[in-house]
Amino acid sequence: MEHLHVQHAEHGLGLTLSGVAAIVLMLCLAVAYLRGVRHLRRAGRRWPRARTAAFLTGVGLLAIGASPPLMQAAMADFRLHMLQHLLAGMLAPLGLVLGAPVCLMLRRLPKKLVLRLSGLLHSAWIGFVAHPCIALLLNVGGLYLLYLTPLYDAMHASLVLHGLVHVHIVLAGCLFTWSVLDGPDPVPRRHSMRLRLATVFIAIAAHTLLSKVIYAYGLPGGVHPQEQIEAGAQWMYYGGDVAELLLLIAMFARRKHTPGAGDFFRDAPAAAST
């Protein structure tokens, strides 16, 4: 235990700085988004308020998750680490994805960049990772790697690894949410509700199983005391339920409104607010 405290002290400044950098980035994203919306409104085009609210909630939750005090505390307390995981990997991505930032960019950017962006969205690589099954693997598979291998321990020893893991959690969360919601940002390929529901079914089951496995068998390495791990595993279980219920509600709410096979640049009409 002793060596870990020394490591924490060494990482203190680095953690604080990376947290501050993340918050600044979130602020920039929020400002850019709001400017985009204002620009559209001025041009007489509509942008659903629900999307703005969803996006701002998303960046807000990420900023809370990345705030230096929580960062520091989460290093030592597994429950707070779990809270971060719920915020950064599940709840914030739902807000960010429902905010449809790519739709906003597509309407705002010059034509040349729009073409490039849509080319990127149509690229084979994005098409591959945006398949619900691959997104599921990257998202929940990453969690299995994190909690069942020495990666969790290693993350506490290396600031770079710590940063990479958290960036992965956020990006994989967004990718998964976007993929199973089938939008509202344009997706490379539409997938049936049945396939997407089956993916969410496996995701919930795998998340539930992982939380119980953590509760039952603990984490590799001895970073946290057992009672903290048990409490954290329960936070993961019940917090995950809340996030997954919201995701399911968004999926069903969007279903009616999603236009059929379609026009790539046409937005799925809003209503996808949580």
Partner: protein, 165 residues
């Protein structure tokens, strides 16, 4: 009278709204019944009473995995059931009598499944951690059978042609 008219009249003599979607009304009721019972289990027995344990150190690995799958199915049933209900009501195709019957069948079916498969076969957790578990198991499964009975009775009643229509 046209063929459609006759059929429509025949449907009207049958219980429920003229264009009732009987199959989906049953589905909606069953999904909500299952999800509600699962919610009662989670809220009352796990959280309020604290009788059930999150994990009781006797659960085999296969039990944990099945538990995950069941839990996922419950969450999806909850959301799907309510959206199906809303959709049926919106297009005035909701058959209340059948949905009510299916609700009890779903709730009772889940309770019985929970009592036999989850508690006994998979040994996920027990109803309460006491010396003599038998009365608890009997009460649990009996309540399931009562709900199933109510469901079957309601279904039989819903199927009977309503007099005066």
């Amino acid at each position: 009278m046209t063929a459609t008219g006759e059929r429509r009249e025949a449907t009207a003599r049958w219980a429920g709204p003229v264009h009732a979607d009987l199959r989906r009304s049953l589905q909606a009721g069953a999904l909500i019944g299952i999800a509600l019972m699962a919610g009662v289990d989670e809220i009352i027995f796990h959280q309020v009473l604290g009788w059930h344990h999150f994990y009781d150190r006797a659960t085999p690995a296969i039990g944990l995995m099945t538990d995950g799958l069941l839990h996922a199915a419950e969450l999806i049933a909850l959301v799907a059931g309510f959206f199906l209900l809303a959709e049926l009501r919106q297009r005035q195709a909701f058959d209340r009598a059948r949905a009510r019957a299916a609700f009890f069948l779903g709730a009772g079916g889940f309770q019985l499944f929970d009592g036999i498969v989850d508690h006994k076969l998979l040994r996920l957790h027990q109803i309460r951690y006491v010396d003599n578990l038998l009365p608890y198991d009997i009460a649990w499964n009996l309540s399931a059978l009562i709900m199933l009975g109510i469901g079957l009775w309601l279904l039989a009643r819903a199927r009977k042609p309503q007099p005066g229509l």
